[in-house]
């Protein structure tokens, strides 16, 4: 049963089979029934027909026999004989002869006709059998027989009756024998052979093995009993059919026959014969066709069902297979293999199921994998933990033994320690007191233990402090202090004490105090401190003391030189001054050196502008360099931060030192400073400086001695070149203090490069001057000609010009430059170096002027400072640049010249707005001018006057604020550089004191065109700016932007 419920296929097939079988059976049954019915009727018809026929045949036979008998009876011979017999006595011859004739005649008759069982003649009187074919019967009297009685009168058929003699069924036909006169002579009787009757019945009953026809008399006895065995039916045979027929019914039916066999029987009562005729056919045989049909149906049906079942089975299997495949896969998956996928064998619902299954399995798999990973991680962690635990356990064992050893060790340490170690309980009493403590304080251990420590070693006034220490320690603080304690004998001892709480298992249990006798040390320290202090005082004082008179000497000699002096006096004064300066330089060096050596050199940490520092340094050697015709230049890489945090003075000191050396030891050529930088991350940079010269160089064997103090390359150089010999030593140490290094490379007679680095933080958010980064609108596309024999200078100028968007062309040769000019090459401006080998700048300028006028090609002279250029009379130079070249200067000069001349060919003088004398009426502003410079004051007032304004004047920031206090102004024209309180500070104060509605509009007058400076102004609170020298259009525009605030009641 379980098997059945678990297999869909089996169920399907079973149900189907069941259904088919049931159907088939049903059909078979119905067919069988129907066929049986039909057959029954048919058989009945047939049998009826046969019965009819048989009835007829029977009757016909009987009739024939009757006729026979009648014939015979009417035969004259017969009659004659009979007459004879009747007339003559029995024993007469005639009688005997007649008897014999009749006997033979009758027997011949009987023989010729088998149907006649016995033929006999009966006497009329008494019915005595006179003659018979069965001689045994002669002489018997049959007077009671019906045939006789009836037969005397007429032909009579006595239907089957039991013979009184034999008791066997007999049928007799009798007819009277009549004489000529019609007298009854006798009766002729014939016993008919019932066999024959039976035969007749049985003949040709019809096809069919079981067909049976028989006759039964009214006493339910078979007519031809031998056939059936009389003994079997002692009371007569009774069957449904026989009974019915014997009762006189005709009919047909299905019943059991005499032999107990179910038959189809047709029964008929033959009234003429007083017999029942039954024709029966076994049901089996009769219905055999139906059975066959049913069987056929059954067989065919079952066969078909079987086939169909197979078909269904196959179909079911076809359906089941994919499902089974999925099932198998599911089983595999269930048993752990998540990589298995169900085969998608079909496109139908099962296929969809397979796909869905696969999807689900896939998801399961990835989920499972994830989980597995987690699990293995966890396992791993677990393992690690176990390993760790094991190692910990091992360690614990180790430690314990170590601890034990340590304990013993420390105990001995304490005992043997040269340092006094005292342990105290929580209440401050001494718990242990080591030998060193005994020695230090003079108390033996027995005297100390159990006493309060502070009481033992301090006096009353120190007690408080000591108690405080004790408390703090107990609270958990460590005390490290220097204090004074007292011995047992009262003498004082300076100690360094370390007091530490002792904590066991989280609970403080006491303290441990360690004393170190530092009396000696204290003394030494005090001495050192005072020595140090003396040194500092010395340095500071000396610094000041020495410099002051030196400055005086120098200053005074300078002043002296400014007066009228005779040539001799001038010479002497010069010597005094220069000696003074040299001496000051030496003193500075010595002091610096000592400071550094004493470690007292402090470096400032302030914002310093790298370019300004370098350029400032160059300025200081510019004059000397110019005197020696050396070219000075500086290049600063793009990556170098604009500003850094450092000591500008010291950095400059280093650079100037190197520059001085370079200029000193170079007779011709150039000295170039270059600055690069390497970011170190986190805003820190390593700035790399190099001073390269084309001087006499340093021999390789002397290189290492360069940086040593007081060494010169050789004595001859010191004599020739002077110097303290400290410069490089100081510079190098300064570099090192600034986080860098200094080094030198040199080739004798070619030149040297001194390089140093410093480490500094870039100063963010500070732009002390604009970077000129990128193209400058007024310079874009302007063509620049640069003529300078020094490649470095050319390179610098060209680089900047490029960056600003100009189109520079440079050459070292004046001739080449002239060639270009003569050729007609276009230029907007030219920078010409003055000192050049082939043709100096002045000469070149003169030549250029032959081809281009000053308006067409403005010239900028590039010269060394301090030189008086001769021959400049006839040349108009639009600008001057001096060496060393500073980009800011270059920028200013270019802008001045080019920005004021918008394009070539046009008249450079721009149309100026007509001075509107009525402006003040239209825009009645109250103006305050804050300017200290007399010339500028006059200029500004004049301009304002031309516009109709009467402005008030303040000579510095303080006066300006005072003026504002007194009355209200709409506009303050604020100069930036003023004594007492400069423009920025004054602005800030004004902004603080007066809120916006009451505050005047502050317009800065600044000579700096730099964006950064302008931003500075705006940041301080200025509202606007105009440049100096004052331009009319700018002033008008700025005033135009100013609102008239009107009187404000304050």
């Amino acid at each position: 049963m379980k098997f059945w419920t678990r297999s869909l296929m089996i169920r399907l097939v079973s149900y189907f089979l069941l259904l088919s079988v049931v159907t088939v059976i049903l059909v078979g049954y119905v067919a069988y029934t129907q066929a049986t019915e039909a057959l029954k009727l048919a058989v009945f018809d047939r049998l009826s027909a046969v019965a009819d026929v048989k009835q007829g045949e029977l009757n016909r036979w009987v009739d024939d026999e009757v006729r026979n008998v009648v014939l015979i009876a009417e035969l004259p011979e017969v009659r004659a004989q009979v007459r004879t017999m009747a007339a003559e006595p029995v024993d007469s011859l005639g009688y005997q002869t007649a008897h014999g004739v009749l006997a033979s005649y009758l027997s011949a008759l009987a023989h010729s006709q088998a149907d006649l069982q016995e033929v006999f003649i009966l006497s009329n009187v008494g019915g005595k059998i006179l003659v018979s074919t069965d001689p045994a019967h002669e002489g018997q009297y049959r007077v009671t027989d019906r045939y006789f009685t009836e037969g005397r009168s007429g032909t009579f058929v006595q239907n089957v009756y039991p013979s009184p003699i034999t008791l066997a069924p007999t049928m007799t036909v009798a007819t009277p024998l009549l004489g000529d006169g019609g007298q009854r002579l006798g009766v002729l009787a014939v016993d008919l052979s019932l066999k024959r009757m039976d035969q007749i019945i049985q003949e040709r009953v019809g096809a069919g093995a079981s067909n049976e026809a028989y006759l039964v008399d009214r006493l339910n006895v078979f007519v031809s009993g031998e056939r059936f065995g009389r003994q079997e039916f002692p009371r007569g045979v009774h069957t449904q059919g026989i009974d019915a027929a014997v009762q006189g019914n005709d009919g047909a039916g299905l019943y059991t026959n005499y032999a107990g066999v179910p038959v189809l029987g047709v029964y008929r009562w033959l009234p003429d014969r007083e017999l029942a005729l039954l024709i029966e056919i076994h049901q089996d045989e009769a219905f055999a066709p139906a059975s066959r049909l049913a069987l056929t149906i059954l067989l065919v049906g079952l066969a078909s069902a079987g086939l169909l079942a197979i078909g269904v089975f196959l179909l079911a299997r076809q359906i089941a297979r994919p499902i089974l495949a999925i099932t198998r896969t599911a089983t595999q998956v269930a048993s752990g293999d998540l990589t298995k996928r169900a085969p998608v064998l079909t496109h139908d619902e099962v296929g969809v199921l397979a796909r869905a299954f696969n999807t689900m399995t896939e998801q399961l798999r990835s989920l499972y994998e994830g989980l597995e990973a987690k699990v293995s991680e966890l396992k791993q962690t677990e393992e690690e933990l176990v390993t760790y635990k094991n190692s910990l356990e091992d360690q614990v064992v180790e430690r314990t033994t170590e601890l034990q050893k340590a304990k013993e060790y420390f105990e001995s340490l304490v005992q043997n320690s040269p340092v006094a170690i005292v342990t105290r309980g929580l209440d401050g009493t001494v718990v242990s007191w080591n030998p060193a403590a005994e020695k230090l304080f003079g108390y033996a251990a027995a005297e100390a233990v159990g006493h309060d420590l502070d009481r033992l070693v301090t006096t009353d006034d120190l007690n408080a402090e000591a108690m405080r220490y004790s408390e703090e320690t107990l609270r958990g603080d460590r005390i490290h202090a220097i204090a004074r304690r007292f011995r047992k004998d009262g003498s004082a001892v300076d100690v360094e004490l370390l007091s530490v709480p002792v904590v066991v298992a989280g609970q403080p249990v006491g303290t441990i105090v360690v004393y170190h006798d530092i009396t000696e040390l204290q003394r030494a320290r005090e001495e050192a401190e005072s020595a140090n202090q003396a040194k500092s005082i010395f340095l500071a004082t000396m610094s000041h003391e020495i410099r002051t008179p030196m400055n005086a000497v120098i200053g005074m000699s300078g002043l002296l030189l400014g007066t009228d002096l005779s040539p001799d006096q001038r010479e002497y004064a010069e010597i005094v001054r220069s000696s003074g300066e040299s001496l000051l330089a030496i003193i500075n060096d010595v002091l610096d050196f000592s400071k550094i050596e004493a470690g007292k050199m402090d470096l400032e940490q302030a914002v310093l502008d790298v370019r300004e520092c370098v350029e400032g340094s160059l300025d200081l050697v510019a004059i000397k360099a110019a005197e020696k015709n050396l070219d000075l230049a500086c290049t600063i890489d793009d990556g170098v931060p604009t500003a850094i945090i450092g000591d500008a003075t010291r950095l400059r000191q280093v650079i100037v030192n190197l520059l001085n050396n370079a200029v000193k030891f170079t007779e011709q050529g150039e000295v170039v400073v270059s600055v690069g930088s390497q970011p170190l991350g986190d805003q820190r940079h390593e700035l790399q400086f190099a001073v390269r010269d084309t001087g006499i160089g340093v021999p390789p064997d002397r290189l290492d001695r360069l940086f040593q103090a007081f060494s010169q390359v050789d004595l001859s150089t010191s004599r020739k070149y002077g110097g303290t010999g400290l410069g490089l030593a100081i510079s190098r140490r300064l570099c090192e203090l600034m986080g860098g290094r200094m080094s030198v490379e040199s080739t004798p007679n070619q030149g040297s490069t001194f390089a140093f680095s410093i480490v500094a933080e870039a100063a963010t958010g500070v732009t002390t001057h604009v970077e000129f980064s990128g193209e400058q609108p007024q310079l874009i596309g302007k063509r620049l000609l640069v003529v300078d024999d020094n490649a470095t200078n050319r390179r610098i100028v060209v680089q900047h010009a490029h960056a600003w968007g100009m189109l520079p062309r440079d050459t070292a040769s004046s001739t080449e430059a002239l060639g270009w000019i003569q050729r007609g090459d276009p230029f907007d401006i030219a920078i010409v170096d003055v000192v050049m080998p082939e043709m100096d700048g002045v000469a070149l300028a003169a030549e250029i002027r032959k081809h281009r006028s000053a308006r067409e090609l403005p010239l900028v002279m590039f010269s060394s400072l301090g030189r008086r250029e001769t021959g400049l009379d006839r040349i108009e130079f639009a600008g001057y640049l001096s060496k060393p070249l500073k980009p800011s200067n270059l920028y200013d000069v270019l802008m001045n010249i080019l920005a004021a001349r918008p394009a070539r060919g046009r008249m450079p003088v721009a149309a100026r707005p007509a001075l509107d004398g009525k402006m003040a009426k239209r825009l009645p502003l109250r103006i305050l001018l804050a300017e200290d410079n007399a010339v500028n004051q006059k200029l500004a007032l004049r301009l304002l006057g031309q516009l109709g304004y009467q402005a008030d004047v303040a000579a510095n920031g303080l006066e300006a604020i005072g003026a504002l206090e007194r009355q209200h102004y709409d506009v303050v024209l604020m100069d930036m550089q003023m004594p007492e309180l400069d423009g920025l500070d004054a602005t800030r104060q004004i902004c603080q004191r007066w809120p916006p509605p009451e505050r005047p509009r502050i317009i800065a007058m600044t000579a700096n065109a730099m964006q950064a400076d302008r931003e500075l102004c705006l940041a301080a609170g200025m509202d606007d700016y105009i440049s100096k020298p004052i331009r009319t259009d700018e002033l008008i525009a700025a005033l135009g932007r100013s609102p008239v605030l009107g009187e404000v009641i304050t």
């Binding site: 005086a552 002043l559 001057y880 003088v909 410079n933 331009r1031």
Partner: protein
């Protein structure tokens, strides 16, 4: 007779236009400048002697901007260097520089005086 190389004519012209083209006013300005300048030079001299960077700077700055207004470019440039030096608190070589400034001023003064109407 002017020395056009010392005084930038262009700057002078501008100045004239700015001031409305009044030669009298221009003369007044020049006078003022020439009056002021020696004082500034003296201040600078003293400042160098006293090592007073602030005074030196301011004086140099003033002389510079004034000189520039009148087109005395060389003088202006030299003043600027001195100013720069002073800004950085450096006095080395300052006296020498000052000498050059004075020389340049002498040239400029001559040139400007030549522009004044004969007094």
């Amino acid at each position: 007779m002017t020395e056009p190389n010392v005084i930038d004519k262009g700057a002078l012209d501008e100045l004239q236009e700015t001031t409305g083209g009044d030669p009298e006013f221009l003369a007044e300005l020049i006078e003022t400048y020439l009056d002021d300048a020696p004082g500034l030079l003296a201040t600078m001299r003293w400042a160098i002697g006293a090592a007073n960077a602030e005074e030196l700077r301011r004086a140099a700055h003033s002389l510079k901007s004034n000189s520039a207004s009148f087109g005395a470019r060389i003088l202006a440039t030299r003043c600027q260097e001195l100013e720069q030096q002073a800004k950085n608190g450096i006095f080395d070589g300052a006296s020498e520089r000052l000498v050059h400034v004075e020389t340049a001023y002498a040239d400029a003064e001559r040139a400007l005086r030549a522009l004044l109407p004969p007094a």
